[in-house]
Symmetry: C2
Subunit: 282 residues, 2 copies
C-alpha cells in the first residue's frame, strides 16, 4: 500500500470516523512528517476509510491524550504563544474540524460578544462622534468556514488565489454573535471602523457581502492598498489606527480573530480576541 | 435542610464525586447566586456528599455541556476577553480543579516553555549585556497551587493576609518547565529580570523560595515598594519596564501568567502567557 493515499485520509475522513481518525493520526504521525512536501491538491478527495467500532473502544485512552494535546495547542494558538505557524498540526485536523463545526466555536464566539457588549455598555462615551470601535472582517464579522471546509480547516497551506476566488463570490456568512455586538455598539453611539487585510480591489464585493450579511452604517471601510504590500498585518493595522488617533478618534474597543488585529501601536482601550484555530496572520 | 451547608458542598466535593459535582452545580446555580455574600471561612470544610453511580450516567449529556462551557470560560480568561473577575465561576469549580491538578495544566505549561525556548534560540543577541528577559514569579516561576488547593482553586475571593502567610512559608514549588526556560535564556546570554507583584517586605522569603526551587543568577529582583501601592499591576510593571528601557536594556522576552504582566508600555518583543485559570490581576 502506498503511503500517500493513506495520508489523504487524514485530511478528509468521514464524520462518523471522527474519533477513530484522531487515533490513527497519532499512530502514523511519523509518516506524515516524512512527507512534508506533500501537495494535497494533487489527490482526489475525500477518501473515506471505514474501521470496525471495536477498534474505537480500544483506542479510547490515547484519544483522550490527543484531545488534551490538541486543546493545549489551541490554547497556545489563541494566547499568541505559538511561534509563527502555517498550517494546523496534522494530528489535530479532526479536533479543529470538530471544534469549528460544532458548538465549541459558537459558544466561544458568543462569549466574546457578550463580554464585549458588557464592556461597551460600561464605557462612558464623550458623545462627540469620536468614540470608536474597530472590527476586523474575516473570521470576525464574516465567516469563511465554507472555504476552509474545502481546505482541511487550516490543514492546507494558505493559497491566496484560491481564497480570492471565494472572496469574490461574496458569500461569506455572518457571524451572528458579532452582528449582535456590532449593532449594539452602533446603538450606543460608537463610530464603527472596519479594518481588514482584504485588498482595495475587493472593496465592492466586500461591501456587498457585508450588507447581505446584515452589517450597515459603518463609518469607514479600510482595505489594504498597493502601498501596504509586504507589510505585516500588525504594522498595516497599527498605521491605520494611528491615522484614526491623529484624526481625534478615541479607540475604545477592537474586535479581531488575530492578535495582529489587536497588537502593535495605537491599540484600543480594550481588545477582544475572537477564536480562530485555522490560520495565523503575523 | 438549610441552603448554606448545601452550598459548602460546591466548594469542596470529593474527588470521586467529581463529574457528578459538575452537574449538581449546574442545577442549583440559582441558589449560589442568591447568596453572593456567603463567607466560606465561616463553615467547616470539606463537606462531602455521596451519590449513587447510576445518577452519574444519567447526567452525562449535561456533563459534556458543562465541560464545553467551562472550557469556553477558560479560553475567554486566557485570551483576556473577560471583564475583570474576582472568583472562578462556581459551576466550573470542578473543571478548574481537574485542570490545574491534572495533566492539562502541565501540558500547557510545557508548551509555553517550549515555544519560548524556540523563540529565545532564534533571537540574535547583541551580546552587550543589554539583551533582557523578564519573568513574573507567582504562577510563572513558582506555583502557589498548594495555597489554592486550600482555597477552592480560585473559588474564594482573594484574601491578601492569608496569601501573605503562605508566601512567608517560602514553600511554593518550582514550575519545572519554567525553570528549564529560565536556565536556557541565561545560558543563551540574556540578562534576567524578575518582576513581581510581591511586596518589598517579602524580598528575603522570596529569594529563599526561589533559590530552594532552583533559580539563580538573576540580574535584578524587582518587588512592589510603598510608592506602588494602589497601582494596577499593568501600570506598576510598565513603569519598571520603562526604567529598564531607559537604562538601555532591550526587552526581548517576557513570561507571565497574567496579561497585566505583559501589556501596557515598554512591552517586550515577544510575550508568553502562561496558563492561570484561578485568578485575575488587573
Amino acid at each position: 500500500m502506498s503511503l500517500i493515499p493513506t495520508k489523504v485520509f487524514f485530511f478528509y475522513f468521514h464524520p462518523t470516523m471522527y474519533h477513530l481518525g484522531f487515533l490513527l493520526l497519532l499512530g502514523i504521525s511519523s509518516i506524515v512528517s516524512a512527507h512534508e512536501n506533500f501537495d494535497p491538491h494533487l489527490f482526489p478527495r475525500p477518501l473515506i476509510v471505514q474501521y470496525p467500532d471495536s477498534l474505537k473502544l480500544e483506542l479510547k485512552e490515547s484519544d483522550e491524550e490527543l484531545l488534551l494535546q490538541c486543546t493545549s495547542w489551541r490554547f497556545a494558538a489563541e494566547t499568541n504563544n505559538l511561534n509563527p505557524w502555517k498550517t494546523i498540526p496534522s494530528e489535530c485536523a479532526g479536533y479543529v474540524k470538530d471544534y469549528v463545526t460544532g458548538r465549541g466555536y459558537l459558544v466561544d464566539l458568543e462569549r466574546v460578544s457578550k463580554e464585549a457588549i458588557a464592556y461597551a455598555r460600561s464605557v462612558q462615551l464623550v458623545g462627540d462622534g469620536k468614540d470608536a470601535w474597530i472590527f476586523d472582517i474575516d473570521e470576525t464579522l464574516l465567516s469563511n468556514l465554507p472555504y476552509y471546509a474545502d481546505h482541511g480547516y487550516g490543514l492546507e497551506v494558505f493559497d491566496g488565489r484560491e481564497f480570492d476566488k471565494w472572496v469574490e463570490k461574496a458569500m461569506a456568512p455572518v457571524i451572528e454573535s458579532s452582528l449582535k455586538l456590532y449593532e449594539e455598539v452602533l446603538e450606543l453611539g460608537f463610530k464603527v471602523f472596519l479594518l481588514t487585510g482584504r485588498s482595495e480591489r475587493h472593496r465592492s464585493v466586500t461591501i456587498e457581502n457585508l450588507r447581505d450579511a446584515g452589517f450597515q452604517n459603518w463609518d469607514k471601510l479600510i482595505l489594504r492598498n498597493l502601498g501596504d504590500n509586504g507589510k505585516s498585518a500588525t504594522l498595516y493595522k497599527s498605521e491605520r489606527r494611528s491615522e484614526m488617533v491623529n484624526e481625534g478618534y478615541r479607540i475604545l474597543g477592537n474586535s479581531g480573530d488575530q492578535w495582529s488585529d489587536l497588537l502593535g501601536s495605537s491599540t484600543s482601550n480594550r481588545s477582544f480576541k475572537l477564536p480562530n484555530p485555522m490560520y495565523y496572520i503575523p
